[in-house]
């Protein structure tokens, strides 16, 4: 199927994760193929983000459903997931056999420093909007989740479920307050 080929090539060529791929999807499916509109893609991306799992895979699957139903979704899933699966399998073989090499391990030592900077940078960027807007309940959740995992070693899965429930409660409380005022 054409959809499989398109998602496969896009997925194979985009380094840098989800937010790099969305503009490329727009270019391919909206501008070039005219299969969906910009608005539809934005809507699908938003839905893809609200589901668990990889956002790009979700968005591609949703687009598959929209265009060709279940089989379209399956094609999009395979098209998006196969390239990283194949590439990482190959990389793993190399990693395993050259890891002991002095220069490879020196390069990884440097890159480990690099990746810690990248992750801290991401955390700072993600936390900034909450700290700026001064949304107390959400800042508390952020700090609480951190403390629960770092100091008390509580299971991450449990923290996520608990915070999802908290989100629903906060939503309900805010709606009630909204009605009163």
């Amino acid at each position: 199927m054409a959809l499989f080929v398109h998602t496969f090539t896009l997925s194979a060529l985009t380094i840098g994760g989800g937010y790099v791929m969305i503009p490329l999807m727009k270019e391919r499916f909206v501008d070039k193929l005219k299969w969906i509109t910009t608005n539809e893609l934005a809507e699908l991306t938003a839905l893809g983000q609200s589901s668990p799992g990889a956002m790009v895979v979700n968005t591609a699957v949703l687009m598959g459903y929209r265009l060709f139903g279940f089989w379209g979704a399956l094609c999009a899933l395979l098209g998006t997931a196969l390239p990283p699966l194949i590439i990482l399998s190959v990389v793993f073989y190399f990693y395993d056999s050259i890891r002991g090499n002095r220069f490879v391990s020196a390069a990884f030592r440097g890159m480990r420093a690099g990746i810690s900077a990248v992750i801290v940078d991401t955390v700072v960027s993600m936390a900034a909007p909450y700290l700026k807007k001064d949304e107390a309940p959400f800042i508390l959740i952020m700090a609480g989740a951190f403390a629960a995992a770092w100091f008390f070693d509580i299971n991450v899965a449990f923290i996520i479920i608990a915070c999802g429930i908290l989100g629903v409660i906060i939503g309900a409380v805010q709606r009630k307050r909204g009605k009163r005022t």
């Binding site: 799992g53 990889a54 990482l88 020196a106 690099g114 993600m126």
Partner: protein, 189 residues
């Protein structure tokens, strides 16, 4: 048995990885490093590095890498399928609910609570990666501090915050500096 174990672990990761990008990170660390010991912390750091410089979502990259390590190609496929199954089911449900109702306030509320939590959890994973990069297996003290790694990480962070170069370039440059340093140290000593 190990295949079933891989499948279940990655199903858990897939079902709970809300929030995109790095959201799966703390879950992968918990399942693969802490609970099942499929990866050491330094392998986990390397895996993140490899994920950043190859195409594809971190979670699928991790599923493949861990699966390969634990049970070969079959393991890679089983772990990846495990990771993708719960989201695929949930996305299917969401697609049809959205088609019927046009909006999903309930889902939005869950997310509003999850997103800040995920930031806190990624911060925990970030701390783990920093400790690994700067202190490795050693106990944390000034004497055991890897000053080269600490300096490099700090510099990379400053450069990244100034938005002068891309993430990808930062990682490659850090790798190159690591190799140059390895060559220079014997010359200096």
């Amino acid at each position: 048995m190990i295949l079933f174990h891989l499948f279940v672990s990655f199903c858990i990761i897939g079902a709970l990885a809300f929030g995109g990008g790095y959201a799966a990170l703390p879950l992968i660390q918990e399942q693969c490093v802490e609970i099942n010991h499929w990866l050491s912390m330094s392998e986990f750091s390397d895996l993140l590095t490899i994920s950043q410089i190859t195409p594809g979502p971190i979670a699928i990259n991790s599923a493949t890498f861990v699966g390969m390590k634990v049970a070969g190609i079959l393991g890679a496929v089983v772990a990846s399928v495990g990771f993708m199954l719960p989201p695929f089911v949930i996305v299917t449900i969401i697609f049809f609910l959205f088609k019927k109702y046009g909006k999903l306030t309930f889902m939005q509320n869950i997310l509003s609570g999850l997103k800040p939590a995920v930031v806190g959890l990624i911060a925990v994973a970030a701390l783990g990666v920093i400790l690994e990069a700067v202190w490795g297996e050693n106990a944390i003290s000034f004497a055991s501090t890897d000053l080269f790694s600490a300096g490099l990480a700090l510099t990379a962070f400053v450069v990244l915050r100034m938005r002068k170069i891309s993430t990808l370039a930062t990682i490659f440059i850090c790798g190159a500096i690591g190799v140059i340093w390895e060559l220079l140290v014997p010359l200096l000593a």
